[in-house]
Symmetry: C3
Subunit: 404 residues, 3 copies
């Protein structure tokens, strides 16, 4: 006797992306502009995209009533690359749950609490060319600096493996919330300094309040990106250590006025590194405390069977390093996006989205500030002194979304 629901989304469209880079010179010496390619270089690409307004997916889920208000359930959700026939089972979510009057315990692979504010309080969620740029930067940061996992390089930002979650029950007068802890699974060995490494561990939570037209939530999470203790030839600590944590704090809210719905988010992500190395007079300590401040304002307006969407989002990178990082350290990206979805039914919609990113001094942090629209990539030859820097990126999605 099976009680499985097969569900999913296929979202496919045609997208056009451009990414323009411009030559910059942060030195005091004039630099003769290169002739080929010219001072400004533009790249563009037309692709079939999946997941323009909803992530393509295939899932299996079920709930069993255990009586007395208790239930067991499972959720297996694969990501689909339906443009090329690809599927990743079950990278989106893979959990088993026990829920009751006191809440839900959920274990397995799941979304992080901090991700939800980036997703829920954004008119375009974190999807398509209109995606919340806070999410784009945080994904890039997780890939560049985070611990990742065998499942995905962006893990511990978007999702975590090996997680234990607790969710408040739904009957708390509008208060909702969750806690999540993800095991690092590293091996501890007796007599070995710094063992076990905590790399990969995640801990976070989210608390929200939804009542009528209003919804607000605060989330915080810490991901251990590095935790290494150098050992010498005899197994003793040699003082070469590195600790790095990615700490995310964000606050999101939405307010539904009926004729329109407003969205807002504030986000602060800190990349804190502490490294030590042996020096002449003891351990030399280096601290690097980078900050990514993000903000989003958005609106959706229902128009008959359609929905107009617009959003502005930005991230400012505050580099903790000194002048070695170059004369202009205040890198930033901002993004505007506008779109329209036309519902053919509750399950099927056509959509069109346009978005533009503007990057400033992004050469100072290419891994993070190289945020572009879609899969467009900037020509980036810069080291912070002279070269090509990300400038503008635009993108368009036209497609269909079908849920089942």
């Amino acid at each position: 006797q099976s009680s499985v629901t097969v569900f999913g989304v296929l979202d496919a469209g045609v997208s056009y992306y451009t990414a323009k880079s411009s030559f910059y010179n942060n030195t005091s010496q004039p630099v003769s502009l290169p002739q080929t390619p010219p001072a400004g270089v533009s790249r563009s690409q037309t692709v079939m995209s999946n997941s323009g307004t909803s992530n393509s997916r295939l899932g299996f889920r079920g709930v069993e009533d255990l009586g007395g208000g208790w239930a067991a359930g499972f959720w297996l959700e694969a990501a689909l690359a339906n443009d090329t026939g690809g599927a990743t089972l079950f990278s989106r979510r893979s959990t088993v749950s026990l829920s009751g009057p006191i809440g839900e315990i959920r274990v397995g692979r799941d979304f992080t609490p901090t991700f939800w504010n980036d997703s829920v309080f954004s008119p375009f969620s974190t999807i398509g060319v209109g995606a919340n740029v806070i999410s784009t930067v945080s994904t890039n940061l997780a890939v560049a600096r985070g611990p990742g996992s065998a499942t995905a390089a962006s893990d511990n930002y978007l999702r975590t493996n090996n997680s234990i979650g607790y969710f408040l029950p739904p009957n708390l007068g509008g208060i909702y919330g969750q806690l999540q802890y993800a095991l690092h699974e590293n091996v501890s060995q007796s007599g070995q300094a710094g063992s076990p490494s905590h790399r990969g561990q995640f801990a976070g939570g989210r608390l929200g309040y939804a009542a009528g037209a209003f919804d607000i939530a605060l989330a915080y999470g810490e991901s251990v990106a590095a935790d290494t203790t150098g050992l010498g030839a005899t197994g003793q600590p040699n003082g070469v250590n590195l600790d790095e944590k990615l700490k995310t704090l964000n606050l999101g809210a939405s307010y539904n006025l009926g004729f329109m719905k407003l969205f807002g988010e504030l986000s602060r992500v800190k990349d804190q590194r502490t490294s030590t190395a042996p020096g002449a007079t003891g351990l030399l300590l280096t601290r690097d405390d980078d900050t990514y401040n993000g903000a989003l304002l958005g609106v959706t307006v229902p128009v008959g069977a359609g929905l107009i969407k617009a959003a502005y989002s930005r991230v400012k990178f505050d580099n903790d390093l000194g002048s070695a990082a170059g004369p202009s350290r205040d890198a930033s990206v901002d993004k505007i996006a506008i779109g329209y979805e036309h519902n053919l039914s509750k399950r099927t919609a056509l959509y069109v989205t346009a978005a533009r990113i503007r990057a400033r001094n992004a050469q100072n942090n290419p891994a993070v500030m190289g945020a572009a629209v879609g899969t467009a990539t900037y020509l980036s030859t810069g080291t912070g002194t002279t070269g090509y820097a990300p400038a503008r990126s635009t993108g368009y999605d036209v497609g269909i979304r079908h849920a089942f």
Copy 2:
């Protein structure tokens, strides 16, 4: 509320393959035959095969009625290697559709229009030891020369990624047809000669007429196999360019006489290469225009709950190169196949198939003419002058097919 149909086929059998090679000498000098191994070398293999008469698959599909004759639908179909427990999601088809009175728009990964004639107008389709040899050669050609894709090396022959298809509506008095365009997705960079490359692009269509016992269809498709523009150190074109297209034209028909059904197909595949290189007096141009002419004749005869099948198919390779290709350029393969399927029900059948391939001068084009039955591979040491050449290959399938 889910509306998903889970469907599929498991087809498994035991197959025996042999591939015999024989020594050849295209030089004017006598060559002393090697003693070990002898002048004729035979390879054989007994395997558990999947997909003897129907490709093993697992799929999920659904249709949503949108009213007014319109519908949305999705189709996800994975290939199964059920002999070893393998599955490739969703390499067979991965599409979302919008259909209505004026036809269907279908986007994603799908079969090419030109593939259908090879498949539909062949008693053994393109499956098992009896497979249409036109399909075997075209698959080999796509793997050897085609653009392929991350999904499959044979892509743009059998299927394409990133495709947009249009299908005529079904109520045109027997006329049916489709158009398909597949995006190349390559990046264009400003100021870069020959950018973007069109490698991977596919465009084609098919037009048919089915009325009563008669069915006929014509298809044409072009796949861009190579499109490279050589650039010098300064980014300027250096004249070393290559353009290669695979152009397929085929015509298939079937006629059902009741007591038997006749099948026929004609196919012409051109592999056209144009390359340039700088010479003393300007660009040197080289053209190579290889042709693969194929034909098939087949018949099926219903006998009670069973079906007898027989087919003859052949491909002749016409090498455009001069004498450098060796004295005997008219390579060819022909194949005869006979089989019997016994239906235990509408969904389940037992089957047995036998087939034999004969290859002539196939050493001149091992990648393409090395067509053998099943996974048997010829011993092929030839360079066109002296060595071992493919000679004969035989194969047998005995198995069960079960659809669900």
Copy 3:
């Protein structure tokens, strides 16, 4: 018209493993103990585990009634790593069947007959920290010495690809049984000595009797682990040959007394190698005939909605080599496990299990005797003379199992 059942299990828990190694010295000379790390080294790990009491899986299966007592059916079962969102389609089972009054023919990827006794006659089956240690050792042996397959290194112990199975019909008065043959699929080439290799071939069977509270079964299987014939430069045999077979014989039984159920198993696995090499007076023959003798005693006791489980299992390794293998050749592992499962419903249970392995002289056969609990690994630097040897391993599982 689809007739597919979607089924599965999600089993997830938190597990803690330790593996302690101790320094040993099999030489007559005293060895100064290393200072760092100390004489005894312990490793530990806390992980999210899947499959603590039941293997996590997702499957699709169906049966079609063909009339007259005959039926066709299919079974596709994937393994799930739900802690990290992983899935392996369809590594657990991938078969199509035809069954009738005279039994069932089943083809594809399936469990071996010999595996079933290790699984069925063990209170903890072969799963979680309480797993039958006979299975742990046999899995390690298959990985280290067996032929494996592209699907799994442990193949031909647990499962086989390319198998043809026959199962007795269910109406034989309690007698049940099966035969299985798995094809090696290797290529045979004419004139090539020792061709084809039979590496990968499996043949085995199982015969049992179940009546009322009593169940007993005997199984035997042979796996060809190596079958190589050395060839010289001219393709003639050079006398350097290796034949290796893994032969498994086991007998299991259970008796259900109502208030408790008893389990027992005896197992003998032989790793028989015969190698030849050219010597001064002809071929030098080397035989190596290692034996792994296993035994298990277990009990389960129902307590209300719960089930207490306990098991003792052991394997003794009898090394056929002479003194070259070191002074203490009689390596062994024994394991005790105790657990409790609490059923919340027929489909959902909570469980806790604890187990301890003790290893003796396991340095003589690290690949096989390095059996530890869960994913804990011993520090093993030994070569049989001096170094670190596996000593003790303990493990705990706490989790939830949910079937659908």
